[in-house]
């Protein structure tokens, strides 16, 4: 396992340097830093892929069973999805939000046990990795939506107040940010929905019931309704811009709480303690 931990640490280090570069690039007017930050992030992502692959190979299961593994996987999905968005929109600024978030997830990951979990037999189902992968990909896309939302609010604020900071020149247009919000929603919502459905199917096979109203399920459902409302509003009433941005930010806040808060403050079947039997 030591090779794996070493790889994990290298990935974390690269993300750290990339974050520094992004922050310098955003605060100062040094374009070179921002551009190099993207290259660093790509390096970090490749390293991360290797890390996950090695771990997968070593444990024989998709590395999402322990808190450590799932944090790493979440960060990986986040960076991966951002890089896809980067290819499409070329918005370097988005990375200035996503990279620190990935870094924080990785840092929290180092504080948790990196031991391969002795897998609870209940989790030994084909549905489990499907459920978790879909859920994390959905989360990652919604994280992008939230970051785009924050940028939208900043940019809108400057356009309305007519007071422009240096940031104004570097942020993308409102339309780009709003269309990101929509794109995220159209990809994230189905992923999240499928994540919940696959989770229910797995729950049925593991516990003999589709839905048990444990806190995580409840909170996930609340988030799901929030995103459903936003999607509905966008498609029918013409919600967009500011309102959509705020919804995306609140929605991601709920998701984060679902992921962390429920594990920390509430207990239920989804707690990692139950997974590993510790």
């Amino acid at each position: 396992m030591t090779v794996n931990i070493l790889l994990f640490k290298i990935t974390l280090l690269i993300y750290f340097v990339a974050t520094i570069f992004y922050l310098i690039g955003v605060i100062s007017r040094k374009e070179r830093f921002r551009q190099n930050a993207v290259y660093l992030l790509i390096c970090g992502f490749i390293m991360h892929c290797i890390t996950l692959a090695v771990r997968w190979f070593a444990t024989g299961a998709i590395p999402v069973a322990s808190l450590h593994e799932s944090l790493s996987f979440f960060a990986w999905a986040l960076v991966g999805i951002y890089l896809i968005f980067y290819l499409r929109y070329r918005t370097v600024m988005l990375g200035a939000f996503i990279t620190p978030l990935a870094l924080v997830l990785m840092i929290i990951g180092t504080t948790t046990s990196a031991q391969a979990p002795a897998l609870n037999p209940m989790l030994d189902s084909w549905w489990f990795p499907v459920h978790v992968t879909l859920a994390f990909l959905g989360h990652a896309i919604f994280a992008i939506a939230a970051a785009a939302g924050i940028m939208y609010l900043l940019q809108e604020r400057m356009l309305k107040s007519k007071k422009f900071s240096g940031l104004f020149y570097r942020l993308p247009s409102l339309d780009t940010l709003d269309s990101m919000n929509y794109k995220c929603l159209t990809f994230g919502f189905p992923l999240m929905t499928m994540g919940i459905i696959s989770g229910a199917i797995w729950a049925n096979s593991a516990w003999g019931g589709y839905w048990r109203w444990d806190p995580k399920e409840t909170w996930a459902l609340i988030s799901w309704f929030l995103y459903a409302a936003l999607l509905h509003g966008r498609l029918t009433v013409g919600w967009r811009g500011r309102r959509a941005a705020i919804f995306a930010i609140i929605g991601f806040g709920f998701l984060l709480f679902t992921f962390f808060g429920v594990n920390l403050f509430l207990s239920g079947e989804h707690s990692f303690r139950n997974f590993t039997g510790q």
Binding site: K162, G166, P172, G238, R240
Partner: protein, 439 residues
């Protein structure tokens, strides 16, 4: 050879002086010839725009040349030298190089980063080349200045943000809509500013133009100009649904567009954003409209504010540009120092003399029984050979001082005969960047 510049600009002289010292752009031959006739001036160039007049020359005696150029400016324009002396600046050597690089890069312009000045210098250089008043040095100097300006333009954002009100409006629209080529503009009223802004939007790709005016004929006329559609003034609010960008400048004493109406319009547009530009004074649109979601209302002062912010942004970029200029000065200065044709000729002669002396000594050492008369004639013969051989290269080198091939010849001679570099340091002559090919 030294480079000197005598001139004046918007920074040193008021327009009353500048207009009297300007050279007509269509008749540059005479002043260029006159400039070249000044005894110390070897090569000359005149840049004359509404904001500046610059005489640039290559000379062996910089101080004499600058004094002569000052006098020339006054005499040519029939002004007493005392009247303009205080407004003139002069630069020589490195300072002159810096000055022209900065001017070409638009760092010395009234509107920092404006692009015209480079074109104007290119035109001025075109005349100097046409009338053959620019030779080896000014050719290199100007091409270098063009490439510095190009570097500044591509490596800094000095020219990237709009500094005119109507162009600022287009850029703001891009910050809201991203693309404006699939957007529609509505023009309300027919102020000049309004038309100008509309023209900017159309040249930047706006696809649809609606025009409304209290007098429908005027609306139709303007609409025809933009290949747009005229809309009766009574119904213009209904057509706002189609408009993404609205330009108003009517003479109306009150608001013609209130918050309520706009709320309705936005609802019917399904909240698609609107960019409203109110150029009228008194204003046409209730400022409260700006508080509505997805409506962005700018009046004249707001746009001015944007222009100011952009200028500030350009100033920050200027320091980067100055650094580029400083880098390039050194390079060009070195080239100039290495250039000297004369030292090359001297070194060449010296080298040949050395060889002659060596070979004569050797020969005389072997032929000890030569009479002094024979020795003299052998010496004379060796001398004659050298002179004959050196005659052609020396003439070519001297001539090449005046055209672009000079540097190549100097390089060739130095390499072929393994001559030491004439400058204090032994650095090689660096090839300078290519004169830029664009435009």
């Amino acid at each position: 050879m030294h480079i000197v510049i005598v001139g004046l600009s918007h920074k040193t002289a008021p327009v009353e002086i500048r207009e009297r010292l300007a050279f007509a752009p269509t008749a540059m031959q005479r002043p260029l010839r006159k400039l070249l006739e000044l005894p110390p001036v070897a090569e000359g160039l005149i840049v004359s725009t509404c904001n500046r007049v610059e005489l640039c020359a290559a000379t062996k005696e910089p101080d004499l040349a600058m004094a002569a150029m000052r006098r020339f400016l006054a005499e040519y324009h029939e002004i007493s030298p005392g009247e303009i002396d205080d407004h003139l600046y002069d630069y020589q050597g490195e300072a002159a190089i810096r000055h022209l690089f900065r001017v070409a890069s638009s760092l010395d312009s009234m509107v920092l980063g404006e692009p015209q000045i480079l074109g104007q210098i290119k035109t001025a250089y075109g005349y100097a080349a046409e009338f053959k008043t620019a030779g080896l040095i000014l050719n290199r100097f100007l091409h270098k200045a063009f490439s510095v300006a190009k570097r500044v333009r591509t490596e800094t954002a000095i020219a990237s943000n709009a500094v005119s009100v109507s162009f600022a409006a287009v850029e703001l629209a891009r910050k809201i809509f991203d693309r404006i080529d699939n957007k529609a503009v509505m023009i309300i009223g027919a102020g000049e500013m309004c038309e100008l802004a509309a023209k900017h939007f159309v040249t930047n790709g706006v696809s649809k133009v609606l025009v409304t005016n209290r007098t429908f004929e005027r609306a139709e006329k303007l609409a025809a100009e933009f290949h747009g559609k005229a809309v009766p003034f009574e119904y213009f609010v209904d057509h706002l649904v189609e408009a993404d960008i609205v330009l108003t400048s009517t003479g109306a004493p009150n608001f013609i567009l209130g918050q309520r109406q706009m709320e309705e319009v936005l609802k019917r547009r399904k909240n698609r954003p609107m960019f409203l530009i109110d150029i009228a004074v008194p204003r046409d649109i209730d400022p409260k409209v700006n508080n509505l979601d997805n409506a962005y209302l700018y009046d004249v002062d707001d746009l001015q504010g944007v222009v100011q912010a952009n200028l500030k942004e350009r100033k920050k970029e200027a320091s980067k540009a100055e650094a580029i200029v400083e880098q390039e000065i050194g390079q060009f200065h070195q080239w100039l120092a290495n250039l000297e044709v004369k030292p090359t000729i001297i070194a060449l002669r010296r080298k040949f003399e050395e060889i002659r002396q060596q070979e004569l000594d050797k020969t005389f050492g072997n032929l000890k029984d030569l009479s002094s008369k024979d020795r003299k004639s052998i010496e004379a013969m060796a001398n004659a050979i050298i002179n004959k051989i050196l005659h052609q290269p020396t003439t070519v080198l001297k001539q090449s001082q005046n055209d672009a091939s000079g540097n190549d010849h100097v390089d060739a001679v130095r390499t072929l005969f393994d001559l030491p570099a004439p400058a204090d340091d032994d650095k090689e002559i660096k090839p300078l960047g290519d004169p830029d090919q664009e435009e």
